[in-house]
Amino acid sequence: MQHNKAITVENLTKRFGNFTAVDAISFEVDKGEIFGFLGANGAGKTTAMRMLCGLSLPTAGKATVAGFDVFKQNEEIKRNIGYMSQKFSLYEDLTVKENIRFYGGIYGKSNAFIKEKTGYLLQHLHLEKEANVLVKELPLGWKQKLAFSVAIFHEPEIVFLDEPTGGVDPVTRREFWNMIYEAASNGITVFVTTHYMDEAEYCNRVSIMVDGKIEALDTPTGLKQTYHASSMDDVFVQLARKAVRSDG
């Protein structure tokens, strides 16, 4: 299917009973872009992301992900995206190699593809010696890097990263962002949420959600100019303070 944008969203809405979690949001994400998706706790980020990943059906509006319709083609979406969250990504009691094999298989990749790419990946991550080590034995930073590599193993068009760097040390956090840049330069679109405001600076564009709506969307430089702010932290605080929804 031909499509110019990685993601298009138009008035996308999700209501739970009389609560509007996501309120008519609209935006587009370019191919190969690193798109930061920020918002306060309870602003509706997770709900929006679940809709874009084909895991939750919208109440109203339109959206396409990798050219597929979120209403009708959610199975195609799942096959063409990668997903990684801080909480769950890898099987702790499988080895490094088994995890890679498992995800490759789930996404329907051939044995030849899996074999060849596993070798490359282990070498690239300097994990050759740990290939047969259980994932639970790995330090957290290595796990995060492996989880990201596994999420893009099947060469998806878009990867969704939900707070990928939470709790990671500052050196590993930066190494992780190098991997994000590398993926983006290989043409993978990156859609990322984070609570670290310095990481918002590493995105090409950033959106900030407040009470279910997208209140601002621009490059980090543009946002700082618009809000007369010295940092992204400043921009975020100005916008998120307006929230009336009680996440408390």
Binding site: G39, N41, G167, D169, M197, D198, F236, D247, G248
Partner: protein, 301 residues
């Protein structure tokens, strides 16, 4: 001056002989009464193990520690009456309401909500309108406030907060630290752990921890002052390329991304860099710069 917490050569290992995990190695530090003390470090640094030893929930393999003048091993029962502990994982009763949780904790400590209401008032009034709601149905921010109230209801002399702001957005984090400031003014000693480096500046003193070791203990200001190098913040049109350039530039000891700018750690005597068409300025180091440098020093040792 007597200390609220003393820690002397504490070590802790987990696991069997073949696969020994050194969670804490030879930790020593003291926390003064009334201090707001931060333990800063990533996951796996040993923060939770240390807190569990101090709150008498875990025994150390080696070393001694006291809380409020009492030994954590011999006088554990007395300590439990005097400390408040908010674990990293939400651990209140999900099927009790806000008010029921609070009165349950008050009753356990032989007190009432009314007796210590002053202490929790500023925090509790924010969740009081929902006091008949079950804890399991609360939002993240409200759970956090309830957990803090429950940890305070017996008027502890030392409060332990294990990663209270992890996964919390930047605005709620600021509000939480505002609450801690209020508690400190009421004379409670607070030990708080966090993986967020930017929260260090909100503490009186901090311990920087990594892989079970203490790397530095001091006030945030002194830690920044003791950073031995100058830092150049550099910004250009192609940041990825610029980072690679900086790493290969003579006079640059280390270079890494730092939000809008890259930070280049300069070798002694260097005051400028031969890179064209970029914005450059010498900046004060951040706690995160110090942490990165300490981590790399420790890794090199």
């Amino acid at each position: 001056m007597s200390y609220a917490v003393t820690i002397a050569s504490i070590s802790k290992t987990y696991g069997a002989k073949q696969k020994l995990v050194q969670a804490l190695s030879n930790i020593s530090l003291n926390v003064e009464k009334g201090e707001l003390f931060g333990i800063i470090g990533p996951d796996g640094a040993g923060k939770t193990s240390l807190f569990r030893i101090l709150t008498t929930l875990l025994l150390a393999n080696e070393g001694h520690a006291t809380v409020d003048g009492l030994d954590v091993v011999k006088e554990f029962k007395a300590i439990r009456n005097r400390v408040g502990y908010m674990p990293g994982r939400f651990s209140l009763y999900q099927d009790l309401t806000i008010e029921e949780n609070l009165s349950f904790f008050a009753t356990i400590f032989n007190t009432t909500i009314e007796a210590n209401y002053d202490l929790i008032k500023d925090i509790y009034i924010q969740i009081e309108p929902f006091k008949t709601r079950r804890a399991g149905k609360l939002s993240g921010g409200m759970k956090q406030k309830l957990a803090l109230c429950c940890a305070l209801i017996h008027k502890p002399s030392v409060l332990f907060l294990d990663e209270p702001t992890t996964g919390v957005d930047a605005v709620s984090r600021k509000e939480f630290w505002q609450m801690l400031k209020g508690l400190k003014e009421q004379g409670i000693t607070i030990l708080v752990s966090t993986p967020y480096m930017d929260e260090a500046s909100l503490c009186d003193r901090v311990a920087l921890m990594q892989s079970g070791k203490l790397m530095q203990v001091d006030s945030p200001r002194n830690i920044i002052h003791s950073f031995p190098h100058k830092i150049m913040a550099v910004k250009g049109s192609n940041m990825l390329q610029l980072l690679n350039t900086l790493k290969q530039t003579k006079g640059v000891a280390d270079a890494y991304a730092f939000g809008e700018y890259h930070h280049a750690v300069l070798e002694d005597g260097i005051t400028t860099l031969p890179i064209e068409q970029v914005e450059m300025k010498i900046v004060q180091p951040d706690i995160e710069d110090c942490f990165i440098a300490l981590m790399k020093d420790h890794a090199a040792q």
